[in-house]
């Protein structure tokens, strides 16, 4: 059989393809420039508001103040230490939520009676801000790490479980039929078909779970004294040090943005968009 695709493209075609690639690169730079301009004007606006003295310096810190606080926090190690301890709680709690939520979601999507019972409970629990667990968690685990980690788990778990379950429920039945016919059964169906087929939904749930985990952790750290970014915020409030408050907020946003760009976006690009042909 003759198939045009079997022949290498001609020089002219290669040139056209290269032009397209060049245009893509140019577009990417344009986006970088746009982003830079946007954030630069945001900072400009901030400066302008400070310069015009719209609010008192005490309640609206300037960029240099915040930068100085960030710098001081970095050099006396208080900020890295707080980031490290918060991250540690977050990773343990979120990791646990992943390990429980994804298998549970797959089961809920597949086993009807489980979904009618446990699924309903998960729905109810999702409506509950996880910080509501703190009083009980403190009673159960004492004033410490475990209580905070518990709150983080409860924050991320429901979003993850329910997103995974809905992914299974929305999976085209044809995949399951094809898998059955090709000899997949039992745990292999979960590992080789349901999990990869629902990966787009699972990743959406993982992103949502991550942001819920952050929220829960910050709430818990604000309420329980100790070390951590939330506690640092609380200290800023007590000392009326608004530049510390803003500095911590900037750090939290930065970490959030970085995890999205370096982790979730990459995973999505690699395991969803490239394979499903959806756009990035």
């Amino acid at each position: 059989m003759n198939n045009v695709a079997h022949q290498a493209p001609s020089a002219a075609l290669t040139a056209i393809a290269q032009t397209k690639a060049r245009k893509d690169r140019l577009d990417r730079w344009r986006i970088y420039a746009m982003r830079l301009a946007f954030f630069a004007s945001l900072i400009g606006l901030w400066h302008a508001l400070v310069w015009l003295e719209v609010w008192d310096e005490m309640i609206f810190p300037s960029l240099p103040q915040v930068t100085e606080t960030l710098w001081l926090g970095m050099s006396d190690q208080s900020l890295p230490a707080a980031i490290a301890i918060s991250m540690q709680r977050l990773l343990i709690g979120y990791g646990l939520a992943l390990c429980i939520g994804i298998p549970l979601g797959l089961l809920l999507g597949r086993v009807r009676w489980l979904n009618e019972t446990v699924g309903m409970l998960a729905m109810g629990l999702q409506a509950l801000p996880s910080i509501c667990w703190l009083p009980l968690a403190v009673l159960w685990f004492g004033l410490g790490e475990s209580a905070m980690i518990f709150v983080v788990v409860m924050g991320a778990l429901m979003a993850l479980t329910l997103a995974t379950r809905d992914g299974v429920k929305n999976m085209p039945p044809l995949y399951m039929r094809a898998a059955h016919v090709l000899g997949a059964s039992g745990w292999r169906l979960y590992v080789h078909v349901m999990l990869p087929a629902t990966l787009p939904a699972v990743l959406t749930g993982a992103k949502l779970g991550w942001s819920f985990a952050w929220r829960s952790l910050m709430a818990a750290e604000l309420l329980l004294v100790g070390v951590g970014l939330g506690s640092l915020l609380e200290r800023g409030r007590e000392l009326h040090d608004m530049s510390l408050v803003v500095a911590v907020m900037v750090v939290i946003m930065f970490v959030g943005l970085m995890t999205d760009r370096w982790l979730f976006s990459r995973l999505e690009q690699r395991f969803v968009h490239r394979r499903w042909g959806t756009s990035a």
Partner: protein, 259 residues
């Protein structure tokens, strides 16, 4: 002993509009190496029948025997090729073809080798690393064919596999399928609504009645091979079968209130 024995199977579905009998008690016996094509009006239960043979559903009455054993579920001796390819988007072309072999526990180097051989047979050697969404409709069906053949089933069940393809691609795939069948002597049950396609491929053409479907008539096709879809003899037989079918199609559309 027949390769596939369908004994009085029937199936009822329950839906919002009430009970629907998808398949009336149907019996059919298929010998090893036969290429049986099933035609019938839309909704007469062709897919239902194929699913029962595949073991994807259980009949409400009767039973299916394949390779001398009653069918209780899907098995590696019977692989289905679906109308929409049903390829897995999270796997690339090669991994899709290797899937059945992986499930069967075939070790990696061997399953890769077998998958590559099959992809070569369907002329897709250059696309082993492509993702499913990067393929055209015809290429998808060729990959689906390779994937269905990989576990080396001796019974191949095909549910309108080429219905969504253009005539040229379909002709090409007919040739490939005929070659494959001639060289491997697999038993093939092929569902289509295209009568000419049925006569082009089959050793026997089964016409089913309107819903609830059962076997209406059976035509033995003795035309020499290789056949071509525009052969005069073939077209003539197809015309006879189409007349036979027309009454059923009219009844089917009448029942659905289309006319």
């Amino acid at each position: 002993m027949p390769k596939v024995e369908i004994n009085g199977v029937s199936q009822v579905f329950w839906s919002q509009s009430g009970a629907v009998q998808a398949l009336a008690e149907t019996s059919l016996s298929i010998d090893e190496g036969e290429f049986v094509c099933i035609v019938g009006p839309s909704g007469c239960g062709k897919s239902t029948l194929l699913n029962l043979v595949a073991g994807l559903a259980k009949p409400d009455t009767g039973h299916v025997i394949a390779n001398g054993k009653p069918v209780t579920g899907p098995g590696p001796d019977r692989v289905v090729m679906f109308q929409e390819s049903g390829l897995f988007p999270w796997l690339n072309v090669l991994q899709n073809v290797m899937f059945g072999l992986k499930m069967a526990g075939v070790p990696e180097p061997e399953r890769r080798e077998r998958a590559e051989k099959l992809l070569h047979m369907v002329h897709l050697s250059r696309f082993t690393q492509a993702w499913v969404h990067e393929l055209s409709g015809g290429m998808k069906q060729r990959v689906a064919l390779a994937r269905a053949l990989a576990p080396n089933p001796d019974i191949l069940l095909m549910d309108e596999p080429f219905a969504a393809l253009d005539a040229q691609t379909r002709d090409m795939l007919h040739d490939e399928l005929e070659d494959l069948w001639a060289s491997t002597r697999k038993t093939i049950i092929f569902v289509t609504h295209n009568v000419r396609e049925a006569v082009r491929l089959g050793t026997r053409v089964i016409v089913m009645t309107a819903r609830p479907g059962r076997v209406k008539s059976i035509y033995d096709i003795d035309l020499p091979r290789p056949r071509h879809i525009e052969d005069v003899g073939l077209v003539k037989i197809a015309a006879t079968i189409r007349d036979d079918l027309r009454g059923e199609v009219l009844q089917a559309t009448h029942e659905e209130g289309i006319d």
